[in-house]
Symmetry: C3
Protein backbone atom coordinates (compact mmCIF):
# COMPACT_ATOMS: atom_id res chain seq x y z
CA UNK A 1 0.00 0.00 0.00
CA UNK A 2 2.69 2.50 1.04
CA UNK A 3 4.70 1.26 -1.93
CA UNK A 4 1.83 1.93 -4.28
CA UNK A 5 1.27 5.43 -2.94
CA UNK A 6 4.98 6.16 -3.37
CA UNK A 7 4.99 4.90 -6.94
CA UNK A 8 1.90 6.95 -7.72
CA UNK A 9 3.47 10.10 -6.26
CA UNK A 10 6.69 9.39 -8.14
CA UNK A 11 4.92 8.98 -11.47
CA UNK A 12 2.98 12.16 -10.71
CA UNK A 13 6.25 14.06 -10.46
CA UNK A 14 7.46 12.51 -13.72
CA UNK A 15 4.23 13.59 -15.40
CA UNK A 16 4.53 17.21 -14.22
CA UNK A 17 8.16 17.52 -15.34
CA UNK A 18 7.30 15.87 -18.68
CA UNK A 19 4.62 18.49 -19.29
CA UNK A 20 7.11 21.28 -18.60
CA UNK A 21 9.62 19.73 -21.00
CA UNK A 22 6.95 19.41 -23.67
CA UNK A 23 5.88 23.04 -23.24
CA UNK A 24 9.49 24.15 -23.77
CA UNK A 25 9.68 21.98 -26.89
CA UNK A 26 6.49 23.45 -28.32
CA UNK A 27 7.64 27.00 -27.67
CA UNK A 28 10.81 26.16 -29.64
CA UNK A 29 8.61 24.87 -32.48
CA UNK A 30 9.83 21.27 -32.30
CA UNK A 31 7.75 18.53 -33.95
CA UNK A 32 6.04 15.76 -32.01
CA UNK A 33 9.22 13.68 -31.84
CA UNK A 34 11.12 16.60 -30.33
CA UNK A 35 8.28 17.10 -27.86
CA UNK A 36 8.53 13.48 -26.71
CA UNK A 37 12.32 13.62 -26.44
CA UNK A 38 12.20 16.72 -24.28
CA UNK A 39 9.43 15.21 -22.15
CA UNK A 40 11.54 12.16 -21.49
CA UNK A 41 14.78 14.08 -20.94
CA UNK A 42 13.22 16.66 -18.62
CA UNK A 43 11.25 14.15 -16.57
CA UNK A 44 13.82 11.39 -16.28
CA UNK A 45 17.22 12.94 -17.09
CA UNK A 46 18.04 13.93 -13.53
CA UNK A 47 17.37 10.52 -12.04
CA UNK A 48 19.12 8.82 -14.92
CA UNK A 49 22.27 10.86 -14.36
CA UNK A 50 22.15 10.16 -10.61
CA UNK A 51 21.77 6.43 -11.24
CA UNK A 52 24.81 6.43 -13.55
CA UNK A 53 26.85 8.16 -10.87
CA UNK A 54 25.91 5.91 -7.97
CA UNK A 55 26.12 2.71 -10.01
CA UNK A 56 22.40 1.89 -10.09
CA UNK A 57 22.68 0.46 -13.59
CA UNK A 58 20.56 0.09 -15.62
CA UNK A 59 18.83 3.23 -14.30
CA UNK A 60 15.26 2.83 -13.05
CA UNK A 61 13.96 4.88 -15.97
CA UNK A 62 15.49 2.35 -18.37
CA UNK A 63 14.62 -0.84 -16.52
CA UNK A 64 11.01 0.00 -15.60
CA UNK A 65 8.88 0.94 -18.61
CA UNK A 66 6.26 2.75 -16.49
CA UNK A 67 8.52 5.78 -16.11
CA UNK A 68 9.05 6.14 -19.86
CA UNK A 69 5.37 5.64 -20.59
CA UNK A 70 4.39 8.29 -18.05
CA UNK A 71 6.90 10.75 -19.48
CA UNK A 72 5.56 10.20 -22.99
CA UNK A 73 2.01 10.55 -21.68
CA UNK A 74 2.98 14.01 -20.43
CA UNK A 75 4.36 14.92 -23.85
CA UNK A 76 1.26 13.64 -25.65
CA UNK A 77 -0.98 15.54 -23.24
CA UNK A 78 0.70 18.78 -24.23
CA UNK A 79 0.64 17.93 -27.91
CA UNK A 80 -3.00 16.87 -28.15
CA UNK A 81 -4.52 18.98 -25.39
CA UNK A 82 -2.39 22.07 -25.83
CA UNK A 83 -5.26 24.53 -25.37
CA UNK A 84 -6.09 22.85 -22.08
CA UNK A 85 -2.52 22.72 -20.76
CA UNK A 86 -1.83 26.25 -21.94
CA UNK A 87 -4.76 27.41 -19.82
CA UNK A 88 -3.24 26.12 -16.58
CA UNK A 89 -2.65 29.25 -14.50
CA UNK A 90 1.05 30.03 -13.96
CA UNK A 91 0.79 29.89 -10.14
CA UNK A 92 -0.64 26.37 -10.29
CA UNK A 93 2.21 25.29 -12.57
CA UNK A 94 4.69 26.82 -10.14
CA UNK A 95 3.18 24.87 -7.24
CA UNK A 96 3.15 21.61 -9.22
CA UNK A 97 6.74 22.18 -10.29
CA UNK A 98 7.81 22.84 -6.69
CA UNK A 99 6.09 19.61 -5.66
CA UNK A 100 7.88 17.66 -8.40
CA UNK A 101 11.19 19.24 -7.41
CA UNK A 102 10.71 18.34 -3.73
CA UNK A 103 9.85 14.77 -4.57
CA UNK A 104 12.83 14.27 -6.90
CA UNK A 105 15.29 15.88 -4.51
CA UNK A 106 14.25 13.81 -1.52
CA UNK A 107 13.99 10.53 -3.42
CA UNK A 108 17.33 11.21 -5.10
CA UNK A 109 19.10 11.81 -1.80
CA UNK A 110 17.59 8.71 -0.23
CA UNK A 111 18.61 6.53 -3.16
CA UNK A 112 22.18 7.87 -3.01
CA UNK A 113 22.27 7.05 0.72
CA UNK A 114 21.06 3.50 -0.01
CA UNK A 115 24.00 3.08 -2.39
CA UNK A 116 26.48 4.10 0.30
CA UNK A 117 27.29 7.64 -0.89
CA UNK A 118 28.41 9.91 1.96
CA UNK A 119 25.83 12.37 3.36
CA UNK A 120 27.38 15.55 1.95
CA UNK A 121 27.44 14.20 -1.60
CA UNK A 122 24.05 12.51 -1.18
CA UNK A 123 22.50 15.92 -0.58
CA UNK A 124 24.20 17.24 -3.72
CA UNK A 125 22.96 14.22 -5.67
CA UNK A 126 19.45 14.98 -4.43
CA UNK A 127 19.85 18.42 -5.95
CA UNK A 128 21.17 16.90 -9.19
CA UNK A 129 18.16 14.60 -9.37
CA UNK A 130 15.85 17.58 -8.98
CA UNK A 131 17.43 19.91 -11.51
CA UNK A 132 19.29 17.55 -13.86
CA UNK A 133 16.39 17.00 -16.22
CA UNK A 134 15.77 20.71 -16.73
CA UNK A 135 19.49 21.20 -17.31
CA UNK A 136 19.58 18.55 -20.04
CA UNK A 137 16.46 20.09 -21.61
CA UNK A 138 18.13 23.51 -21.77
CA UNK A 139 21.35 22.09 -23.23
CA UNK A 140 19.31 20.32 -25.94
CA UNK A 141 17.68 23.66 -26.72
CA UNK A 142 21.17 25.25 -26.92
CA UNK A 143 20.47 27.53 -23.94
CA UNK A 144 22.51 28.04 -20.83
CA UNK A 145 20.59 26.10 -18.13
CA UNK A 146 17.96 28.24 -16.41
CA UNK A 147 18.85 26.70 -13.07
CA UNK A 148 22.22 28.49 -13.19
CA UNK A 149 20.48 31.84 -13.50
CA UNK A 150 17.12 31.54 -11.77
CA UNK A 151 15.81 32.27 -8.28
CA UNK A 152 16.46 29.92 -5.42
CA UNK A 153 15.66 26.63 -7.16
CA UNK A 154 18.51 24.14 -7.00
CA UNK A 155 19.28 25.50 -3.55
CA UNK A 156 15.79 24.54 -2.42
CA UNK A 157 16.35 21.03 -3.78
CA UNK A 158 19.65 20.65 -1.94
CA UNK A 159 18.09 22.13 1.20
CA UNK A 160 15.27 19.57 1.18
CA UNK A 161 17.68 16.73 0.45
CA UNK A 162 19.92 17.82 3.33
CA UNK A 163 16.99 17.98 5.77
CA UNK A 164 16.02 14.44 4.82
CA UNK A 165 19.53 13.13 5.34
CA UNK A 166 20.02 14.87 8.67
CA UNK A 167 16.63 13.62 9.87
CA UNK A 168 17.49 10.04 8.92
CA UNK A 169 20.89 10.31 10.64
CA UNK A 170 19.05 11.46 13.77
CA UNK A 171 16.96 8.29 13.71
CA UNK A 172 13.83 9.22 11.79
CA UNK A 173 12.58 6.56 9.43
CA UNK A 174 12.75 7.11 5.66
CA UNK A 175 9.07 8.04 5.29
CA UNK A 176 8.81 10.88 7.85
CA UNK A 177 12.34 12.10 7.04
CA UNK A 178 11.44 12.34 3.37
CA UNK A 179 8.21 14.14 4.15
CA UNK A 180 10.09 16.65 6.30
CA UNK A 181 12.64 17.28 3.55
CA UNK A 182 9.96 17.61 0.88
CA UNK A 183 8.07 20.17 2.98
CA UNK A 184 11.31 22.09 3.47
CA UNK A 185 12.16 22.16 -0.22
CA UNK A 186 8.59 22.98 -1.24
CA UNK A 187 8.25 25.84 1.25
CA UNK A 188 11.62 27.40 0.48
CA UNK A 189 10.97 27.24 -3.25
CA UNK A 190 7.54 28.85 -3.02
CA UNK A 191 8.56 31.54 -0.56
CA UNK A 192 11.61 32.35 -2.71
CA UNK A 193 9.48 32.54 -5.86
CA UNK A 194 6.86 34.71 -4.16
CA UNK A 195 9.47 37.17 -2.91
CA UNK A 196 11.74 36.93 -5.98
CA UNK A 197 14.60 35.96 -3.70
CA UNK A 198 17.84 35.61 -5.54
CA UNK A 199 21.24 34.46 -4.49
CA UNK A 200 23.99 37.06 -4.31
CA UNK A 201 26.06 37.89 -7.35
CA UNK A 202 29.39 39.60 -7.64
CA UNK A 203 29.20 43.25 -8.69
CA UNK B 1 32.79 -15.72 -40.93
CA UNK B 2 29.39 -14.19 -40.04
CA UNK B 3 31.19 -12.49 -37.11
CA UNK B 4 33.73 -10.99 -39.45
CA UNK B 5 31.09 -9.69 -41.87
CA UNK B 6 29.21 -8.13 -38.95
CA UNK B 7 32.36 -6.43 -37.63
CA UNK B 8 33.15 -5.16 -41.11
CA UNK B 9 29.64 -3.73 -41.54
CA UNK B 10 29.82 -2.21 -38.06
CA UNK B 11 33.12 -0.48 -38.73
CA UNK B 12 31.72 0.71 -42.06
CA UNK B 13 28.93 2.48 -40.21
CA UNK B 14 31.44 4.02 -37.79
CA UNK B 15 33.49 5.26 -40.74
CA UNK B 16 30.49 6.92 -42.44
CA UNK B 17 29.36 8.68 -39.25
CA UNK B 18 32.95 9.77 -38.55
CA UNK B 19 33.13 11.40 -41.97
CA UNK B 20 29.92 13.30 -41.30
CA UNK B 21 31.22 14.48 -37.93
CA UNK B 22 34.46 15.62 -39.53
CA UNK B 23 32.61 17.52 -42.26
CA UNK B 24 30.63 19.38 -39.59
CA UNK B 25 33.88 20.19 -37.78
CA UNK B 26 35.52 21.55 -40.93
CA UNK B 27 32.51 23.69 -41.77
CA UNK B 28 32.81 25.19 -38.26
CA UNK B 29 36.49 25.89 -38.98
CA UNK B 30 37.86 23.62 -36.25
CA UNK B 31 41.50 22.52 -36.37
CA UNK B 32 42.57 18.92 -36.92
CA UNK B 33 42.15 18.07 -33.24
CA UNK B 34 38.56 19.34 -33.31
CA UNK B 35 37.98 17.32 -36.46
CA UNK B 36 39.14 14.13 -34.75
CA UNK B 37 37.09 14.82 -31.64
CA UNK B 38 33.92 15.33 -33.64
CA UNK B 39 34.66 12.22 -35.72
CA UNK B 40 34.96 10.15 -32.57
CA UNK B 41 31.96 11.70 -30.83
CA UNK B 42 29.66 11.48 -33.85
CA UNK B 43 30.64 7.93 -34.76
CA UNK B 44 30.80 6.41 -31.29
CA UNK B 45 28.86 8.72 -28.97
CA UNK B 46 25.51 7.01 -29.44
CA UNK B 47 26.78 3.52 -28.70
CA UNK B 48 28.85 4.80 -25.83
CA UNK B 49 25.84 6.42 -24.19
CA UNK B 50 23.76 3.24 -24.72
CA UNK B 51 26.50 1.13 -23.15
CA UNK B 52 26.62 3.40 -20.09
CA UNK B 53 22.86 3.07 -19.69
CA UNK B 54 22.63 -0.69 -20.01
CA UNK B 55 25.70 -1.34 -17.90
CA UNK B 56 27.99 -2.62 -20.67
CA UNK B 57 31.05 -1.02 -19.06
CA UNK B 58 33.62 -0.25 -20.29
CA UNK B 59 31.76 0.56 -23.53
CA UNK B 60 32.81 -1.35 -26.64
CA UNK B 61 34.24 1.85 -28.16
CA UNK B 62 36.58 2.17 -25.18
CA UNK B 63 37.55 -1.46 -24.75
CA UNK B 64 38.14 -2.31 -28.44
CA UNK B 65 40.63 0.02 -30.12
CA UNK B 66 39.40 -0.82 -33.64
CA UNK B 67 36.37 1.43 -33.22
CA UNK B 68 38.44 4.45 -32.18
CA UNK B 69 40.96 3.86 -34.96
CA UNK B 70 38.20 3.63 -37.57
CA UNK B 71 36.58 6.82 -36.31
CA UNK B 72 39.89 8.67 -36.48
CA UNK B 73 40.49 7.23 -39.95
CA UNK B 74 37.21 8.85 -41.02
CA UNK B 75 38.36 12.19 -39.60
CA UNK B 76 41.76 11.97 -41.27
CA UNK B 77 40.12 11.07 -44.59
CA UNK B 78 38.15 14.31 -44.48
CA UNK B 79 41.14 16.35 -43.40
CA UNK B 80 43.62 15.06 -45.97
CA UNK B 81 41.27 14.18 -48.82
CA UNK B 82 38.80 17.01 -48.37
CA UNK B 83 38.43 17.74 -52.11
CA UNK B 84 37.57 14.10 -52.66
CA UNK B 85 35.08 13.81 -49.78
CA UNK B 86 33.55 17.16 -50.63
CA UNK B 87 32.82 15.85 -54.14
CA UNK B 88 30.65 12.97 -52.85
CA UNK B 89 27.20 13.72 -54.24
CA UNK B 90 24.66 14.60 -51.57
CA UNK B 91 22.27 11.75 -52.47
CA UNK B 92 25.05 9.19 -52.00
CA UNK B 93 25.87 10.68 -48.61
CA UNK B 94 22.19 10.49 -47.69
CA UNK B 95 22.06 6.81 -48.63
CA UNK B 96 25.26 6.03 -46.73
CA UNK B 97 23.96 7.90 -43.71
CA UNK B 98 20.67 6.00 -43.82
CA UNK B 99 22.62 2.75 -43.97
CA UNK B 100 24.73 3.76 -40.96
CA UNK B 101 21.62 4.80 -39.06
CA UNK B 102 19.87 1.49 -39.77
CA UNK B 103 22.86 -0.49 -38.64
CA UNK B 104 23.32 1.45 -35.40
CA UNK B 105 19.64 1.34 -34.53
CA UNK B 106 19.29 -2.40 -35.03
CA UNK B 107 22.55 -3.30 -33.34
CA UNK B 108 21.72 -0.95 -30.46
CA UNK B 109 18.33 -2.54 -29.88
CA UNK B 110 19.74 -6.06 -30.00
CA UNK B 111 22.48 -5.22 -27.52
CA UNK B 112 19.93 -3.69 -25.13
CA UNK B 113 17.84 -6.88 -25.38
CA UNK B 114 20.92 -8.97 -24.59
CA UNK B 115 21.38 -6.96 -21.40
CA UNK B 116 17.82 -7.67 -20.31
CA UNK B 117 16.22 -4.29 -21.05
CA UNK B 118 12.49 -4.57 -21.76
CA UNK B 119 11.37 -4.44 -25.42
CA UNK B 120 9.79 -0.98 -25.33
CA UNK B 121 12.91 0.66 -23.92
CA UNK B 122 15.19 -1.49 -26.11
CA UNK B 123 13.57 0.05 -29.17
CA UNK B 124 14.14 3.53 -27.73
CA UNK B 125 17.75 2.64 -26.96
CA UNK B 126 18.14 1.52 -30.58
CA UNK B 127 17.01 5.00 -31.57
CA UNK B 128 19.42 6.57 -29.06
CA UNK B 129 22.28 4.53 -30.51
CA UNK B 130 21.43 5.77 -33.99
CA UNK B 131 21.05 9.47 -33.23
CA UNK B 132 23.10 9.93 -30.03
CA UNK B 133 26.38 10.65 -31.79
CA UNK B 134 24.90 13.38 -33.98
CA UNK B 135 23.25 14.88 -30.91
CA UNK B 136 26.55 15.07 -29.02
CA UNK B 137 28.20 16.58 -32.12
CA UNK B 138 25.58 19.33 -32.27
CA UNK B 139 25.84 20.07 -28.55
CA UNK B 140 29.64 20.41 -28.91
CA UNK B 141 29.03 22.89 -31.74
CA UNK B 142 26.61 24.80 -29.46
CA UNK B 143 23.65 24.06 -31.75
CA UNK B 144 20.29 22.60 -30.87
CA UNK B 145 20.50 18.98 -32.15
CA UNK B 146 19.37 18.66 -35.77
CA UNK B 147 17.57 15.43 -34.92
CA UNK B 148 15.05 17.40 -32.87
CA UNK B 149 14.18 19.54 -35.89
CA UNK B 150 14.76 17.40 -38.98
CA UNK B 151 12.60 15.13 -41.14
CA UNK B 152 11.71 11.65 -40.04
CA UNK B 153 15.13 10.52 -38.80
CA UNK B 154 15.09 9.32 -35.22
CA UNK B 155 11.64 7.93 -35.87
CA UNK B 156 13.07 5.75 -38.66
CA UNK B 157 15.71 4.49 -36.23
CA UNK B 158 13.14 3.60 -33.59
CA UNK B 159 10.91 2.03 -36.25
CA UNK B 160 13.71 -0.26 -37.45
CA UNK B 161 14.68 -1.13 -33.89
CA UNK B 162 11.07 -2.00 -33.06
CA UNK B 163 10.72 -4.23 -36.13
CA UNK B 164 13.83 -6.12 -35.09
CA UNK B 165 12.57 -6.65 -31.56
CA UNK B 166 9.10 -7.75 -32.63
CA UNK B 167 10.58 -10.15 -35.19
CA UNK B 168 12.85 -11.69 -32.56
CA UNK B 169 9.95 -12.03 -30.11
CA UNK B 170 8.03 -13.86 -32.86
CA UNK B 171 10.84 -16.40 -33.13
CA UNK B 172 13.08 -15.06 -35.87
CA UNK B 173 16.80 -15.40 -35.20
CA UNK B 174 18.95 -12.32 -34.57
CA UNK B 175 20.40 -12.20 -38.10
CA UNK B 176 17.19 -12.17 -40.16
CA UNK B 177 15.37 -10.04 -37.57
CA UNK B 178 18.15 -7.47 -37.72
CA UNK B 179 18.12 -7.47 -41.50
CA UNK B 180 14.37 -6.92 -41.52
CA UNK B 181 14.66 -4.02 -39.07
CA UNK B 182 17.52 -2.45 -41.00
CA UNK B 183 15.54 -2.61 -44.26
CA UNK B 184 12.59 -1.02 -42.48
CA UNK B 185 14.66 1.84 -41.05
CA UNK B 186 16.55 2.38 -44.30
CA UNK B 187 13.40 2.46 -46.44
CA UNK B 188 11.44 4.75 -44.14
CA UNK B 189 14.37 7.17 -43.88
CA UNK B 190 14.91 7.38 -47.64
CA UNK B 191 11.23 7.64 -48.52
CA UNK B 192 10.78 10.34 -45.87
CA UNK B 193 13.79 12.27 -47.15
CA UNK B 194 12.65 11.99 -50.78
CA UNK B 195 9.18 13.31 -49.95
CA UNK B 196 10.32 15.78 -47.29
CA UNK B 197 7.99 14.11 -44.84
CA UNK B 198 7.88 15.85 -41.52
CA UNK B 199 6.24 15.05 -38.27
CA UNK B 200 3.34 17.24 -37.19
CA UNK B 201 3.94 20.39 -35.19
CA UNK B 202 1.60 22.44 -33.12
CA UNK B 203 0.34 25.63 -34.78
CA UNK C 1 53.85 9.67 2.77
CA UNK C 2 54.02 9.37 -1.04
CA UNK C 3 50.27 8.78 -0.94
CA UNK C 4 49.76 11.96 1.02
CA UNK C 5 51.90 14.02 -1.34
CA UNK C 6 49.95 12.62 -4.29
CA UNK C 7 46.62 13.45 -2.69
CA UNK C 8 47.84 16.95 -1.89
CA UNK C 9 48.98 17.49 -5.50
CA UNK C 10 45.71 16.09 -6.79
CA UNK C 11 43.61 18.39 -4.63
CA UNK C 12 45.83 21.28 -5.74
CA UNK C 13 44.88 20.57 -9.36
CA UNK C 14 41.20 20.40 -8.42
CA UNK C 15 41.51 23.75 -6.66
CA UNK C 16 43.12 25.46 -9.67
CA UNK C 17 40.51 24.14 -12.11
CA UNK C 18 37.72 25.11 -9.70
CA UNK C 19 39.01 28.68 -9.63
CA UNK C 20 38.99 28.82 -13.42
CA UNK C 21 35.43 27.48 -13.54
CA UNK C 22 34.34 30.05 -10.96
CA UNK C 23 35.97 32.88 -12.91
CA UNK C 24 34.04 31.84 -16.04
CA UNK C 25 30.83 31.75 -13.99
CA UNK C 26 31.41 35.23 -12.58
CA UNK C 27 32.17 36.66 -16.02
CA UNK C 28 28.80 35.23 -17.17
CA UNK C 29 27.17 36.96 -14.21
CA UNK C 30 25.97 33.77 -12.50
CA UNK C 31 24.97 33.87 -8.85
CA UNK C 32 26.88 32.06 -6.11
CA UNK C 33 25.08 28.79 -6.82
CA UNK C 34 26.08 28.94 -10.47
CA UNK C 35 29.64 29.72 -9.38
CA UNK C 36 29.75 26.60 -7.21
CA UNK C 37 28.24 24.41 -9.93
CA UNK C 38 30.79 25.56 -12.48
CA UNK C 39 33.60 25.10 -9.96
CA UNK C 40 32.54 21.53 -9.35
CA UNK C 41 31.89 20.71 -13.02
CA UNK C 42 35.14 22.24 -14.26
CA UNK C 43 37.31 20.71 -11.57
CA UNK C 44 35.77 17.25 -11.41
CA UNK C 45 33.80 16.74 -14.63
CA UNK C 46 36.67 15.26 -16.62
CA UNK C 47 37.56 12.64 -14.02
CA UNK C 48 33.92 11.87 -13.41
CA UNK C 49 33.32 11.18 -17.09
CA UNK C 50 36.46 9.02 -17.26
CA UNK C 51 35.33 7.04 -14.21
CA UNK C 52 31.92 6.40 -15.81
CA UNK C 53 33.61 5.12 -18.96
CA UNK C 54 36.08 2.77 -17.29
CA UNK C 55 33.56 1.47 -14.77
CA UNK C 56 35.08 3.06 -11.66
CA UNK C 57 31.65 3.59 -10.12
CA UNK C 58 30.82 5.51 -8.04
CA UNK C 59 33.41 7.98 -9.36
CA UNK C 60 36.09 9.15 -6.94
CA UNK C 61 34.62 12.66 -6.93
CA UNK C 62 31.32 11.21 -5.67
CA UNK C 63 32.67 8.68 -3.19
CA UNK C 64 35.34 10.86 -1.55
CA UNK C 65 33.98 14.12 -0.16
CA UNK C 66 37.40 15.82 -0.11
CA UNK C 67 37.26 16.42 -3.87
CA UNK C 68 33.90 18.12 -3.73
CA UNK C 69 34.89 20.22 -0.74
CA UNK C 70 38.08 21.36 -2.47
CA UNK C 71 36.18 22.27 -5.63
CA UNK C 72 33.69 24.32 -3.63
CA UNK C 73 36.56 25.96 -1.74
CA UNK C 74 37.90 27.14 -5.10
CA UNK C 75 34.50 28.58 -6.00
CA UNK C 76 34.15 30.34 -2.64
CA UNK C 77 37.66 31.75 -2.96
CA UNK C 78 36.69 33.45 -6.19
CA UNK C 79 33.39 34.65 -4.81
CA UNK C 80 34.67 36.11 -1.56
CA UNK C 81 38.19 37.08 -2.59
CA UNK C 82 37.44 38.16 -6.13
CA UNK C 83 39.71 41.23 -6.06
CA UNK C 84 42.56 39.01 -4.95
CA UNK C 85 41.97 36.27 -7.53
CA UNK C 86 41.35 38.82 -10.26
CA UNK C 87 44.78 40.25 -9.56
CA UNK C 88 46.59 36.99 -10.32
CA UNK C 89 48.72 37.79 -13.37
CA UNK C 90 47.60 35.94 -16.51
CA UNK C 91 50.97 34.21 -17.02
CA UNK C 92 50.80 32.70 -13.53
CA UNK C 93 47.28 31.45 -14.21
CA UNK C 94 48.52 29.92 -17.45
CA UNK C 95 51.31 28.10 -15.62
CA UNK C 96 48.97 26.86 -12.89
CA UNK C 97 46.48 25.71 -15.49
CA UNK C 98 49.19 23.85 -17.40
CA UNK C 99 50.21 22.16 -14.15
CA UNK C 100 46.63 21.12 -13.43
CA UNK C 101 46.22 19.83 -16.97
CA UNK C 102 49.41 17.76 -16.75
CA UNK C 103 48.38 16.24 -13.48
CA UNK C 104 44.88 15.32 -14.65
CA UNK C 105 46.09 13.87 -17.94
CA UNK C 106 48.73 11.66 -16.33
CA UNK C 107 46.54 10.51 -13.46
CA UNK C 108 43.66 9.85 -15.88
CA UNK C 109 45.78 7.69 -18.15
CA UNK C 110 47.20 5.71 -15.23
CA UNK C 111 43.77 5.06 -13.78
CA UNK C 112 42.48 3.85 -17.17
CA UNK C 113 45.46 1.48 -17.39
CA UNK C 114 44.68 0.13 -13.92
CA UNK C 115 41.16 -0.69 -15.12
CA UNK C 116 42.50 -2.69 -18.05
CA UNK C 117 41.83 -0.21 -20.88
CA UNK C 118 44.23 -0.66 -23.80
CA UNK C 119 47.15 1.80 -24.09
CA UNK C 120 45.86 3.72 -27.11
CA UNK C 121 42.50 4.46 -25.48
CA UNK C 122 44.13 5.05 -22.08
CA UNK C 123 46.08 7.95 -23.59
CA UNK C 124 42.85 9.36 -25.04
CA UNK C 125 41.15 8.97 -21.66
CA UNK C 126 44.03 10.86 -20.10
CA UNK C 127 43.24 13.66 -22.52
CA UNK C 128 39.53 13.44 -21.68
CA UNK C 129 40.32 13.69 -17.98
CA UNK C 130 42.36 16.83 -18.61
CA UNK C 131 39.92 18.69 -20.83
CA UNK C 132 36.54 17.14 -19.93
CA UNK C 133 35.77 19.54 -17.12
CA UNK C 134 36.38 22.62 -19.24
CA UNK C 135 34.23 21.11 -21.98
CA UNK C 136 31.31 20.57 -19.62
CA UNK C 137 31.76 24.13 -18.29
CA UNK C 138 31.53 25.56 -21.81
CA UNK C 139 28.47 23.45 -22.69
CA UNK C 140 26.74 24.71 -19.51
CA UNK C 141 27.52 28.26 -20.63
CA UNK C 142 26.04 27.42 -24.08
CA UNK C 143 29.38 27.96 -25.81
CA UNK C 144 31.19 25.66 -28.19
CA UNK C 145 34.01 24.19 -26.04
CA UNK C 146 37.17 26.31 -26.14
CA UNK C 147 39.30 23.18 -26.32
CA UNK C 148 37.97 22.52 -29.83
CA UNK C 149 39.19 25.92 -30.98
CA UNK C 150 42.21 26.81 -28.86
CA UNK C 151 45.96 26.40 -29.17
CA UNK C 152 47.62 23.10 -28.52
CA UNK C 153 45.85 22.15 -25.29
CA UNK C 154 44.14 18.78 -25.48
CA UNK C 155 47.00 17.62 -27.65
CA UNK C 156 49.43 18.44 -24.83
CA UNK C 157 47.28 16.40 -22.46
CA UNK C 158 47.22 13.38 -24.77
CA UNK C 159 50.95 13.78 -25.40
CA UNK C 160 51.73 13.67 -21.67
CA UNK C 161 49.38 10.73 -21.15
CA UNK C 162 51.03 8.83 -24.00
CA UNK C 163 54.53 9.46 -22.62
CA UNK C 164 53.45 8.08 -19.26
CA UNK C 165 51.97 4.95 -20.79
CA UNK C 166 54.96 4.26 -23.04
CA UNK C 167 57.31 4.78 -20.11
CA UNK C 168 55.37 2.35 -17.94
CA UNK C 169 55.28 -0.24 -20.75
CA UNK C 170 59.07 0.09 -20.97
CA UNK C 171 59.36 -0.84 -17.31
CA UNK C 172 59.40 2.50 -15.48
CA UNK C 173 57.40 2.55 -12.25
CA UNK C 174 54.21 4.61 -12.01
CA UNK C 175 55.83 7.50 -10.13
CA UNK C 176 58.72 8.34 -12.46
CA UNK C 177 56.61 7.54 -15.56
CA UNK C 178 53.95 9.94 -14.39
CA UNK C 179 56.50 12.63 -13.65
CA UNK C 180 57.96 12.24 -17.13
CA UNK C 181 54.53 12.50 -18.75
CA UNK C 182 53.59 15.52 -16.64
CA UNK C 183 56.80 17.32 -17.62
CA UNK C 184 56.07 16.53 -21.27
CA UNK C 185 52.54 17.86 -21.13
CA UNK C 186 53.52 20.92 -19.12
CA UNK C 187 56.40 21.85 -21.43
CA UNK C 188 54.46 21.34 -24.64
CA UNK C 189 51.53 23.37 -23.34
CA UNK C 190 53.67 26.30 -22.22
CA UNK C 191 55.85 26.35 -25.34
CA UNK C 192 52.74 26.18 -27.52
CA UNK C 193 51.07 29.02 -25.60
CA UNK C 194 54.19 31.18 -25.72
CA UNK C 195 54.55 30.74 -29.48
CA UNK C 196 50.81 30.73 -30.23
CA UNK C 197 51.21 27.40 -31.90
CA UNK C 198 48.02 26.17 -33.47
CA UNK C 199 47.09 22.95 -35.15
CA UNK C 200 46.50 23.07 -38.90
CA UNK C 201 43.06 23.88 -40.27
CA UNK C 202 41.62 23.29 -43.67
CA UNK C 203 41.61 26.38 -45.91
Amino acid sequence: MAQQILLFVDLGGVYVFAIEGALAAVSHRLDIFGVLVLSFATALGGGLFRDLLIGAIPPASISDFRFGVTAFAGGLTVFFLFAFVHAIPAPLLLVLDAAGLSLCAVAGAQKAQLYGINPFLSALLGGVTGVGGGTIRDVLLAQSPKVLHADVYAVAAIFGAAITIVAQKRGLRAGPAGLLGAVGCFSLRLVAAAHHWNLPKLA
